[in-house]
């Protein structure tokens, strides 16, 4: 019996040690998680229900901020701008990427590596620096694009200084910058398609066009689904480009949701309202992802 008790003691001790060891592994991570993720999320929700300029203590408003922003013209315009940005940039970005990646997936390995490196160059570059280059390209009268237009006898639109064009110009730059990232994802998807599918299609007499629509595209849908979700999420977070290219303007024509949060909080010191918009941003991202998740049954093919 004595032996058994010692063994139990030893067992308990080892067990306690194991918990201590686990705690030592987890502690730095868990502290970071609580202090930098969980608490800030809860704090954002709390602040969104107050008015707070950081100088005086926050004043409780209940749901006033939420009621206000949904009738605020400015917020609705911001929402519209972000929706436009998403609808314009996500499909174009993905379709272009599929087109170019399929071309890049050929047998010429060296050439394809070269293309991959070049197309990925904008992705690794700082958005701020790249946006500054594009600001110069877009510049009225002196910009390179303006020159291209006039050299074929057209008047260039005011890319950044007109309310009709500002957001579209931001979209074009963003598609350009993100293209390489999307291409790499599609290439990875293409490499995952088993060659047997193509061999079978060939035996059935399918030409290149048929092979693309009947084999490549259906087999690529899981990749495309992932890309759509990620692209929509990152579209809703666009900020750097609009800050540098247009500063949200002219007027509020290119103010994105995140730019609006920045403006409300860090320019106008309305941290309560800024947190309200942040919570709405998160709710929108969650909702859109859930909708896409629900819709995936209709078009995503998981047979492979």
């Amino acid at each position: 019996m004595v032996g058994g008790a010692t063994r139990t003691k030893a067992y308990l001790k080892r067990h306690r040690n194991e918990r201590l060891v686990a705690l030592s592994f987890l502690a730095p991570n868990l502290i970071g998680f609580i202090a930098l993720t969980v608490l800030p999320i809860l704090a954002t929700i709390y602040i969104s229900l107050t008015e707070w300029n950081l100088l005086k203590p926050p004043q409780w408003l209940g749901f006033d901020n939420y009621l206000k922003i949904f009738v605020s013209k400015r917020f609705l315009q911001t929402l519209g701008n972000t929706a436009y940005y998403t609808i314009a940039s996500v499909p174009v970005g993905i379709i272009l990427a599929v087109f170019l990646a399929v071309l890049m997936n050929g047998p010429r390995k060296k050439l394809n590596t070269f293309f991959r490196i070049v197309y990925y160059l904008p992705v690794i570059s700082s958005t701020v620096a790249v946006a500054l280059i594009w600001k110069f390209l877009y510049a009225d009268d002196i910009g390179l694009f303006s020159y291209f237009f006039s050299s074929i006898g057209l008047t260039a639109p005011k890319f950044l200084t007109s309310t009709q064009w500002s957001m579209t110009s931001v979209v074009i730059m963003s598609v350009w910058k993100g293209l390489g990232y999307n291409i790499i994802l599609v290439l990875a998807g293409l490499q995952g398609i088993a060659p047997t599918y193509y061999e079978a299609a060939e035996i059935d007499g399918a030409n290149g066009w048929d092979r693309f629509w009947r084999v490549t595209l259906p087999m690529l849908t899981p990749t495309l689904f992932f890309m759509t979700i990620m692209s929509v999420i990152s579209s809703f977070q666009v900020f750097d480009q609009t800050k540098i290219l247009t500063d949200g303007g002219p007027g509020f024509s290119s103010t994105s949701i995140v730019y609006y949060i920045y403006n409300l909080g860090f320019v106008n010191m309305k941290f309560g309202a800024a947190c309200t918009v942040a919570v709405v941003l998160f709710a929108l991202i969650l909702l859109l992802s859930m909708i896409q998740w629900a819709l995936q049954k209709k078009w995503v093919n998981y047979d492979a």
């Binding site: 194991e18 991570n29 700082s126 790499i184 990620m230």
Partner: protein
């Protein structure tokens, strides 16, 4: 089907042509930047524009260096990105190991909470984090730039998935020899997941090297600006001086482009593995 080696079909040639056009549109803005950076003020505005500057104005670069502390921006960016990368690799790999291999109460429940926060965009946590940093008096310091970013739920999740794929038997051998969790972690897990760590590290470094919004919030003085903030400062001070702005952009981008060209494998291959976009 049986084509001669080296021969190119018409469809293949047109494909390559399209890819070349696309590649040209990818590099053209960069070439235009470098070309403009070597022009005089008047040449930058010249219509029709010239692609090759008449006399390369290397002095533009010294003018940039003399007007803003560019060296300081490099230094701040290097320190910030390196510290965050190391911090995240340490906290994420250790936490991931605890979630993947160690037994403790509530492990799986805690992990589910981690997963739930993956969808929360950084902009949602940004304001309270800023307020905390302000309260602590950290504004305009490396602490403000670095500490709020040394943890990542995504990195923890990613590495945990990698650790789960490593066969248990390897660690059991160490355990039988009387080794503990630390020996397993340092002798088995870390060496085996070097590629995953390198990929995660590359992405974290790149992300924070280019990060703009957070430094915009927590730095006020030129002394503490990182490169993206430095470019913004420069662009604000030298409006319409496109030749100088392009010189500043070139200088800001060059180090990362050089690193990328040498280590492009890590940048490119990692995406498929992680789905991360820097």
């Amino acid at each position: 089907m049986h084509r001669k080696r080296g021969s190119v079909s018409l469809s293949e040639a047109s494909g390559i042509f399209i890819l070349f056009l696309g590649a040209l549109s990818m590099v053209l803005p960069f070439l235009w930047m470098v070309s403009t950076s070597l022009k005089t003020y008047n040449e930058a505005f010249q219509v029709p524009p010239s692609f090759i500057p008449q006399v390369p104005q290397w002095g533009n670069y010294t003018e940039v260096l003399n007007s803003v502390p560019f060296g300081r921006f490099y230094f701040n960016s290097i320190v910030t990105s390196t510290a965050i990368t190391l911090g995240q690799l340490i906290t994420c790999s250790m936490g991931a190991y605890a979630f993947a291999r160690l037994n403790f109460k509530g492990r799986d429940k805690i992990f589910v909470i981690y997963l739930a926060t993956l969808m929360v965009p950084a902009q949602v946590t940004m304001i309270p984090t800023f307020i905390i940093v302000k309260w602590l008096g950290w504004i305009d310091s490396f602490k403000a730039l670095i500490i709020p970013s040394i943890f990542s739920a995504y990195g923890t999740f990613l590495l945990r998935q990698f650790y789960m794929s490593i066969p248990m038997e390897l660690e059991e051998a160490v355990r039988i020899d009387g080794g503990g969790a630390y020996r397993c972690f340092f002798q088995i897990i870390l060496p085996l997941t070097k590629p995953a760590l390198a990929t995660l590290g590359t992405f974290v470094f790149l992300f924070f090297w280019n990060n703009f919004l957070w430094p915009l919030l927590v730095t006020n003085t030129t002394e503490m600006f990182t490169l993206p903030m430095g470019i913004q400062l420069f662009a604000g001070r030298f409006t319409a001086q496109w030749h100088l702005m392009m010189a500043a952009s070139t200088m800001a981008m060059l180090p990362m482009i050089v690193v990328y060209l040498f280590a492009q494998k890590y940048f490119v291959e990692g995406i498929a593995m992680t789905g991360l976009k820097a």
